[in-house]
């Protein structure tokens, strides 16, 4: 039995998910070992968070506004017609805060930061820059992967909060401002107070926890996958685009799979036998 577990453990560590877990464990272990130069490492972290988070704000706001507007229009116009008008708040919470916010932000970060990170590290590998760090006694995991991991996790959380706020509030104001131009929107009778009250009254502790856990976890998954594909590039420049491609696609797939896993415990609330 022990031999079987040993064999399974070794097989897992050699597999793709196993190598991702090992890379993540190695990067997160840096949290418990203080760097020689805290100031330098902090500035690396700030720089990575800025690149991932602050520079992505316009894109996230733009997408969030469109998603928020579409969701609000659909919810406000369709739901009363099928007798589900009272569930408007719940729908907004489930659709935007639980699902669309973390998922769309993760997709944007995977496409933008994930691809950049993978290309950046892949090029460094091909140009022997990572070897150069190693011969200087600079641990590449500590110097490159740890700040990327932490920066992406922090940025993902911040951007998801921004996405949720923008899609809910921004979407509401877009719909209101369009009411004067598009006649159908004029029929939407919903004050801001009632709109927010319905949303906040539908929020639970689970929603709050998910709003924190999901983006942070997705950020970790995206950065680890992107870093892994970057640092496992060989010595050939032609491998860099392939690595970037795999990093983005795998980030999308893993994010969706983990989104499903996050949803499984919530199915209990629907009284579905599992």
């Amino acid at each position: 039995m022990i031999q079987l577990l040993n064999w399974l453990g070794k097989r897992f560590l050699l597999s793709y998910p196993g190598e991702l877990v090992a890379l993540g464990a190695s990067a997160l272990s840096c949290l418990f070992h203080p760097p020689a130069n805290r100031k330098s490492e902090f500035s690396q972290l700030v720089s990575r968070t800025y690149l991932t988070g602050v520079e992505a704000i316009p894109l996230v706001v733009f997408v969030a506004l469109i998603i928020g507007t579409v969701t609000i229009v659909q919810a406000v116009s369709v739901m009363p017609k099928i007798g589900a008008g009272d569930y408007f708040g719940s729908v907004m919470v489930v659709v935007v805060i639980r699902e669309m916010g973390p998922l769309f932000t993760a997709f944007l970060i995977a496409g933008r930061t994930g691809s950049a990170l993978s290309t950046f590290l892949g090029n460094m590998k091909v140009q022997q820059e990572i070897d150069a760090l190693r011969v200087m006694g600079i641990n590449p995991t500590r110097y490159l992967i740890y700040p990327a991991l932490m920066g992406t996790m922090i940025a993902m959380f911040g951007l998801t909060v921004l996405f949720n706020l923008t899609s809910i509030l921004g979407g509401y104001f877009v719909v209101r401002s369009l009411a004067g131009i598009i006649p159908q929107f004029a029929d939407l009778e919903l004050s801001l107070g009632l709109f927010l009250e319905r949303i906040f009254s539908s929020m639970s502790l689970v929603d709050g926890l998910l709003a924190i856990a999901k983006p942070v976890f997705f950020g970790m998954v995206i950065s680890l996958i992107s870093c892994y594909h970057g640092i496992t590039v060989g010595n050939d420049t032609r491998q860099v685009p392939d690595a970037t491609n795999r990093a983005v696609v795998n980030s999308f797939v893993f994010t969706i799979v983990f989104d499903l896993l996050f949803a499984v415990p919530l199915l209990r609330n629907l009284d579905i036998p599992l």
Partner: protein, 246 residues
């Protein structure tokens, strides 16, 4: 005799191809050794093994009397502050300026205060005659300046041992001459031990270094340029022919 670098029975294979076969040598403090050989003889591989970038199939590498395979990774990282390495392609960090590249090991290891780092880096850049390029990124530099920047980065921590991979390759005559003068200065003034892998036998003669030839994976006994030139070994003669020294 203070030995800073030694290799004992070093073997390395890629698949079934034996790249290095029982390589033995030692390098005393303050001395230099050139490792020459035709393309594909494993010169760069030898250097990567010595720096701990690859693991040998067999054999021991000792740096400052420490077996680099037995030493703890953190201790080895600290040891590397006494070791400089210059890659064939310079391998400067592309998103950092020349100044930032040179300052990197000092900053990461927190070896000096910020003021001292500035002074040390400025002095090193001046010594290598590249102070005017300090704010430029590697992609905008010529090959010769990139090599000098890489050497600056390798010597900024005042190492006792430097490894160089083809430092003169691709350089024009003037840049090569400047670079060799700077390397000579580092060896003879700073008393740094240096192992240089190169095709450039002339460079070894100019720096008055011993030369070890890699032949079929084995490192022949290091000797002076003149001794090597007079060698009866057909492989060595062929190497000289290749280099058009005759």
């Amino acid at each position: 005799m203070n030995i800073v670098l030694s290799a004992n029975n070093l073997c390395y294979s890629i698949g079934s191809h034996k790249v290095l076969d029982r390589v033995n040598f030692y390098l005393p403090a303050g001395e230099s050794l050139f490792v020459c050989g035709s393309s594909g003889q494993g010169k760069s591989t030898l250097l990567r093994l010595l720096a701990g970038l690859e693991k040998p199939d067999m054999g021991v590498v000792r740096i400052f009397d420490q077996d680099i395979q037995e030493i703890a990774p953190k201790r080895f990282d600290q040891l590397k502050t006494k070791l400089g390495f210059v890659f064939q392609n310079s391998a400067l960090i592309s998103h950092k300026t020349v100044w930032e590249n040179v300052a990197l090991p000092l900053i990461y290891h927190n070896l000096e205060s910020a003021d001292q780092i500035k002074e040390t880096v400025d002095n090193t850049l001046e010594m290598l005659l590249i102070k005017q390029y300090q704010n430029l990124y590697p992609s905008s530099l010529s090959l010769g300046i990139q090599k000098r920047a890489a050497i600056a980065r390798a010597i900024v921590t005042r190492p006792q041992l430097i490894m160089m991979d083809e430092p003169t390759i691709g350089l024009d005559r003037i840049s090569r001459g400047v670079l060799l003068a700077l390397i000579s200065n580092i060896i003879h003034v700073n008393h740094v031990a240096m192992i240089i892998v190169t095709h450039d036998l002339f460079a070894a003669r100019e720096l008055k270094s011993k030369i070890g030839v890699l032949k079929d994976g084995e490192l022949l006994e290091p000797m002076e340029f003149e001794q090597l030139h007079d060698s009866q070994d057909t492989f060595v003669a062929q190497l000289f022919n290749e280099l058009q020294l005759h």
